[in-house]
Symmetry: C2
Subunit: 212 residues, 2 copies
DNA sequence: TAGATTGTTAATCGATTAACAATC
DNA sequence: TAGATTGTTAATCGATTAACAATC
């Protein structure tokens, strides 16, 4: 068995750390562990044990048992509720290129209660991609108005992202997950999460260089 | 023109915010703007102007001019250097499934000085995917030892991620970008960035619900 | 000149870490 | 009992925000 894991980067604030606890605890549940201590989780994730202890104390519905730790089953359930993984939510995806395709078919969303209900693309002909329907972009706004889906995923090129964002907002979307490397200009109250994959890798590369 | 953009989430600490400044300033450069004020950037990104001002002051090689702002060209160059976008770095990718395919062909990395030099897959036959070579996994460790690539990207299923991580480390990789939804057990000193796309979307969905 | 914007110092705020008694 | 682990209070640390004089 290896000594310690490297430090994970960018795990700021309780809410930011909880998903990684969930993942780690799930692994342990799969291995059949019944109890887990904050110390053990901290060890696996190489973060401060006091921090984990405090985080778990703040979300656990059941107190941890000294010298034993927390019941894995309870902890998983609590985290699931706290992180909203038990709540079903829907999204639409705009831009069925290579990345769009992958997300549209990614099986991992279901576990988090998420479903991408339809894809939209500039191609004027409706089609099926696996079990998902891809509709022409002209149908986006009416679709949103009818279904009240409130999350939009943007996987179009940067040059078209703003136009798509405007349509999403016009349709009533409240949150946008934006994979186009551009800043969107949106009315107040719309939640945006920018996902710049290239910049993420660059940050890892830069951090590595910094450590030398 | 719209009033204000919504608040972007998860932009903690100077280093975390700089990439979004870069993106925004680049947009402005493309529009031909020669100067930009911290206030204007803050407005577009809907974050606190004092914070932007301080961040820019800390990385700019040239002082900002009162009543004018910062020279766009200088700022872009400074950010590029600071974020390491001017430094060339290489990575290998393991797991040429749907997501692996997309990353292997993603054109956006070049702009950040990054290149995925080869893909590896369990399929025993070498092949070409676009201009990239995909080699059988058995060749991974020798390849790494020969080329000294120090970043590995994991896009295999969760069940195989640990095995792949072990090989990457054996080959001398120093940083891992992990798309498998699992916690990797690694020796100290290896930098890991976990990218759980489903959990990211779930966090957005939960945040949206929280705001109601 | 008035207004916008800067750089910087001080104040506030929140998050992380330390300390320690209590418990199994 | 000794050792591991908990929950919680206090101390530390760092990041954000406010304030303000200086400048164009």
């Amino acid at each position: 068995m290896r000594s310690r894991q490297s430090s994970l980067i960018i795990l700021k604030s309780t809410l930011g750390r909880l998903p990684s606890y969930y993942c780690e605890i799930e692994n342990r549940a799969a291995r059949g562990e019944e109890f887990v201590s904050a110390t053990a989780i901290a060890e696996s994730l190489s973060i401060n044990p006091i921090q984990v202890r405090k985080d778990l104390a703040s979300i656990s519905s059941e107190p941890g048992r000294p010298n034993v730790g927390f019941r894995v089953k309870t902890l998983l359930e609590d985290l699931k509720v706290y992180l909203g993984y038990d709540q079903y939510d829907e999204a639409v995806l705009v831009g069925v290129g290579a990345l769009g395709h992958v997300l549209l078919h990614y099986g991992g969303f279901a576990k988090y209660g998420l479903d991408i209900v339809a894809g939209f693309d500039s191609e004027p002909k409706e089609k099926k991609v696996g079990d998902k329907t891809v509709l022409p972009i002209a149908k986006l706004v009416p679709f949103l108005k009818r279904t009240h889906v409130n999350i939009g995923i943007i996987t179009v090129p940067a040059s078209e992202a703003q136009g798509v964002a405007d349509m999403l907002v016009a349709g009533g979307v409240r949150a946008i997950w934006n994979f186009a490397p551009t800043t969107l200009n949106l009315p107040a109250g719309i939640l945006v999460k920018n996902e710049n994959l290239a910049a993420s890798l660059a940050a890892l590369s830069a951090e590595l260089r910094r450590r030398r």
